[in-house]
């Protein structure tokens, strides 16, 4: 233990500090975005139904999410007597953790330059970025399942089972549609995928329209959004898996859903729409800091579009029935994704011959 101090001194504390600050910024940005997604959801819903939406808290109702959050905070925290208390508390925490962990591998923009130090605007550029996202997303299922089971309520349990089986089923088609994309990119690192698209000037969605469509549908299902919000089907299951939850624990579940939406929008923008690439603009001619900021703005606009798409679909399409959901997942999307993968592989082989 004597050389522990030597170990600690040898460690690159500046790097750690830089990453820590980046993590704090990204997590808080995700939280703020999730907050304003709730506002946007209500506004979009209202507009599509010829209403105005929340407009009393602050100008244009801009403070509405803060009021909502404050309300959730000050509600009574109820833990049912018959529930499994540890797991009941663990459930929303896991859901939130899984939702926030996914943002680690997303490249938010290129790098910033402060004198000699280069700050990559990405928490971790691991060479298995996409797989990491898959791994963490599959953990998100536990938040739902544990919460639903620990509530000791048959509706919650049913909803939890629905949510979990839905997530597992659609993960397959999602993964296979991604494999076709990976044939083209040849890398699993998110940053490499973006840089490849920037270099070519053609976004992956051009090569993989079907793959993107499958990925989009599966992303809707993974986020439990309408038309696949079966775990929260009020008309069948009352409230769904968070039936017994109140106060901020309920808030965590709702927040996790919105963060998932944000992250999956970011993933779609990264994989299929060039990430922080601005079309018809050569970033290498700009100063790195300017390029990074322009890229960040472009990326956020793309994410914003996908978030709007999520909401647009939600307020247009009614919910599927459960057998329809499973049929779509297993009998339509999975074979389609497989065909897409085989065709892509054949074309790639033919081109590289």
């Amino acid at each position: 233990m004597i050389n522990l101090s030597a170990v600690l001194l040898a460690f690159d504390w500046g790097f750690l500090l830089q990453k820590l600050i980046l993590i704090i910024i990204i997590v808080s940005v995700s939280l703020v975005v999730a907050m304003y997604e709730t506002y946007l959801e209500r506004k979009v819903a209202a507009w599509m139904q010829d209403r105005i939406g929340p407009n009393r808290a602050g100008p244009f109702g801009i403070l509405q999410p803060i009021a909502d959050g404050g309300k959730l905070f000050f509600k009574e925290e109820i833990i049912p007597n018959t529930s499994n208390k540890t797991l009941f508390v663990l459930g929303p925490g896991l859901a939130m953790l899984a939702a926030l962990m996914t943002c680690a591998v997303i490249p938010w923009s290129s790098h910033l330059q402060f004198g000699d130090t280069t700050v990559q605007l990405q928490i971790a550029d691991v060479n298995i970025g996409i797989l990491y996202i898959f791994g963490v997303v599959s953990l998100g299922v536990y938040g739902i399942m544990i919460g639903g089971w620990a509530s000791n309520n048959k509706f919650s349990l049913m909803a939890a089972l629905r949510g979990a089986s839905q997530a597992i089923s659609y993960e397959l088609a999602m993964g296979i549609s991604l494999i076709a994309l990976l044939f083209i990119t040849g890398s699993l690192s998110m940053r490499t995928i973006v840089e490849e698209q920037m270099k070519n000037g053609i976004w992956n969605v051009v090569y993989q329209p079907l793959g993107f469509l499958i990925f989009l549908v599966c992303a809707f299902a993974e986020c439990n959004r309408t038309p696949f919000d079966l775990p929260e089907a009020e008309s069948e299951l009352n409230m769904g898996y968070h039936q017994e939850y109140s106060s901020m624990k309920l808030g965590f579940y709702l927040f996790a859903e919105y963060i998932n939406m944000f992250i999956s929008s970011a993933v779609m923008a990264t994989l299929f729409f060039g990430g922080y690439d601005v079309p018809f603009l050569d970033e290498s001619t700009l100063a790195p800091n300017v390029a990074a900021i322009i890229g960040l703005i472009a990326f956020m606009i793309k994410i914003g579009f996908f978030i709007f798409l999520f909401m647009w679909v939600r307020w247009t399409i009614p919910r599927f029935r459960y057998d329809q959901l499973m049929n779509l997942g297993w009998k339509k999307l999975l074979p389609l994704a497989l065909v897409n993968m085989l065709v892509t592989a054949a074309v790639m082989l033919w081109l590289h011959k």
Binding site: L4, N84, L139, A164, I168, E171
Partner: protein, 167 residues
């Protein structure tokens, strides 16, 4: 002691503690959750060995899919303590003895094996666990076992479909 070693000991303790908790927790759902924790710790070990692909696949397949199915089954069963069947003392005794024997055999094999003595795992070095090298090895050197195992999976899938069709 480097950071890697500290992490190694931390993860090892975590693995063992959660593995023991799998066995001794009364509630089967808790057991499954501890098992998931074990998988996480093992994935951490994989990362220390620079086998990121294995680590994440371990998480996706085991923690993400198989354990969910385990949880499914356990949550749907009625697992009250009251209706738990009483097992006789002899059953427990036999279980302990057979488990102990298996452990002894494994230990002796590990101790006497030529390949493993005086070798420590490559920590943080070596790139065999990276996806490119792994894929290359899998499809060249170990192509036949790989294909055989995929046929095994295929037959399992067909079997599941047949069983499903019957009802």
């Amino acid at each position: 002691m480097s950071i890697t070693e500290i992490l190694f000991w931390f993860l090892s303790v975590l693995t063992l503690v959660s593995a023991i908790m799998v066995l001794i927790s009364k509630n089967p759902v808790h057991s499954v959750l501890w098992l998931i924790a074990t998988f996480f710790a093992i994935s951490g070990h994989y990362i220390l060995l620079n086998a990121q692909f294995l680590a994440i696949v371990n998480l996706i397949v085991y923690a993400g899919a198989i354990m969910v199915l385990f949880l499914f089954v356990i949550m749907l069963m009625n697992l009250d303590v009251a209706i738990e069947p009483k097992r006789s003392m002899w059953m427990k005794f036999a279980g302990v003895i057979s488990g102990g024997l298996l452990l002894a055999v494994l230990l002796s094999v590990v101790r006497t094996s030529v390949d493993l003595t005086n070798k420590t795992a490559q920590l943080n070095t070596g790139d065999i666990g990276l996806i490119k090298n792994l894929g290359h090895t899998l499809f060249t050197q170990y192509a036949v076992p790989f294909e055989v195992s995929s046929i095994l999976f295929l037959s399992a899938m067909v079997g599941a479909v047949v069983i499903g069709k019957k009802n």
